[in-house]
Symmetry: C2
Subunit: 281 residues, 2 copies
């Protein structure tokens, strides 16, 4: 092995799946098989799906909204902890284990792997009334550059465990926090890119960032910052896709080797580079 | 270091807590502080408490009983997975992490750590009718000598993680299973006694096995098989205490160094040996 090769970092893929994959038993099984087939180190991050919403309704817990934003009160935190870190996480782990993929289900509290800060009360202008309001998002955790415990996480990876993260973190003082799964995936990728050649892959129900939302075949093959600016100006990228792209750029701008956004059904195409939308610097 | 010393195994304490500790915030906090203070390697195993029962009622899921025995149907399995592996497990982990105790919350599916077999349909004589009935306990897992993945578990222990197990296992084919927490603690202790000098401590709401159930101060200091036989004959040990003692003897007869049954509030007394009831060969 020459000197350059001996300095090569091992490869790591961080895959995030959202609710549309989780809610569909067949799609989830297909995805998990493709995930098991990925070479190198890997981590799965999953969101919640509609199950938490449905169960909350069954139990009479209403999703609280303030100024159009979802609020995690104590009852809702209980619910997402049960559904995300319990039901969904353990079922995914059991399904991966059935394929000899040595999954270990985790929240950010486990092994102190992801330390978050409770989001402070924010002053936000109400778009309808024009008045400034104090918004308390409740038990929501935000991440920063120090959030990921890379040492503990690489101990797990290097010993053959495949971490499966639910979107629950903690504040280090005994409080669990609800945290955006896209943000967790991006933060893990940035932190671990110090140790691994890291790829970040956002899987959802579209074949990438679509030029025309009604045309499944209109996925844009590559988005760099100037293309992003143009697409935003043309209103092609808006609403829900914006935070995902911000997380993607955050990753690619901070040491992550490659970032893709694509369809969960097509994860097996990743190695061909013919997968979804590639985010570039 | 002489040869004998170099062959000494490291010490491991496996502590099981039940519902009465979990349901009481103050008692749980006291217990967790004592747990953090235990020297050597350690593992916590927790049961469920009344929360699963209460939540099931809120959601209209009825606890099914067949011939006086609890049955885990698909809906109840969902519920215990949410409550045990999600809500209770992650809150305990977050509280331990707040005390710099590097807890990692696990089910038996995680890292394939505890592999169970779904309990087969059993023919049981109905005590009232005298007729033999086929009883399907549903998604209940039984353990055997091969259930515990000692290698994966010792990797976690040796890297500074403190496993916190909920009473959920899997069958290796994608199915989660509800498993008795006392049995999990005993199986872990037996399997890990190959590698560690293992103590098994059952914590509950009494100061040990009581000679007189109405006298809190009547804890029996030691029970060996012949004392056990006498106590059973005198009907001093019966019903709920029997399976716990069977698990305790299973452990002490199969390589576990010491086994205690005592009060969760008194865990700090463990090192004085003035703790609860000691089970001996």
């Amino acid at each position: 092995m020459n000197k350059a090769a001996s300095h090569q970092k091992p490869t790591l893929s961080i895959i995030k799946i959202g609710g549309n994959v989780i809610d569909n038993t067949e799609k989830l099984a297909t995805f998990l098989t493709a995930f098991c087939g990925l070479p190198g180190f890997k981590i799965l991050v999953h969101g919640g799906g509609k199950m938490a919403t449905k169960l909350s309704q069954d139990m009479g817990i209403e999703a609280k909204m303030l100024n159009g934003r979802r609020v995690t009160d104590a009852e809702m935190l209980k619910m997402v902890t049960m559904v995300y870190a319990g039901l969904i996480n353990k079922n995914i782990v059991a399904q991966l284990q059935a394929q000899q993929c040595n999954a270990i289900g985790l929240s950010g509290a486990d092994g102190n792997l992801i330390l978050a800060k409770k989001r402070p009360i924010q002053q936000i202008k109400n778009s309808e009334t024009g008045e400034t309001e104090n918004i308390d998002f409740g038990y929501v955790g935000d991440l920063d550059a120090q959030s990921v415990h890379t040492k503990n996480l690489s101990v797990l990876l290097n010993n053959g465990f495949i971490p499966v993260f639910s979107a629950i973190t903690h504040n280090g003082e005994g409080q669990l926090l609800n945290t955006n799964a896209d943000t967790i995936a991006s933060a893990l990728a940035v932190a671990l890119s110090q140790i691994y050649d890291t790829s970040l892959i956002y899987c959802f129900e579209k074949k990438g960032v679509l030029r025309d939302v009604d045309d499944e075949q209109s996925a844009i093959s590559e988005i760099n910052p100037s293309i992003f600016e143009t697409l935003q100006a043309q209103n092609i990228i808006h609403s829900g896709m914006l935070p995902k792209l911000h997380n993607a750029f955050e990753a690619i701008n901070n040491g992550v080797k490659q970032v893709f956004i694509g369809h969960a059904d097509e994860l097996h195409l990743l190695h061909t580079q013919q997968f979804g939308t590639r985010i570039t610097i």
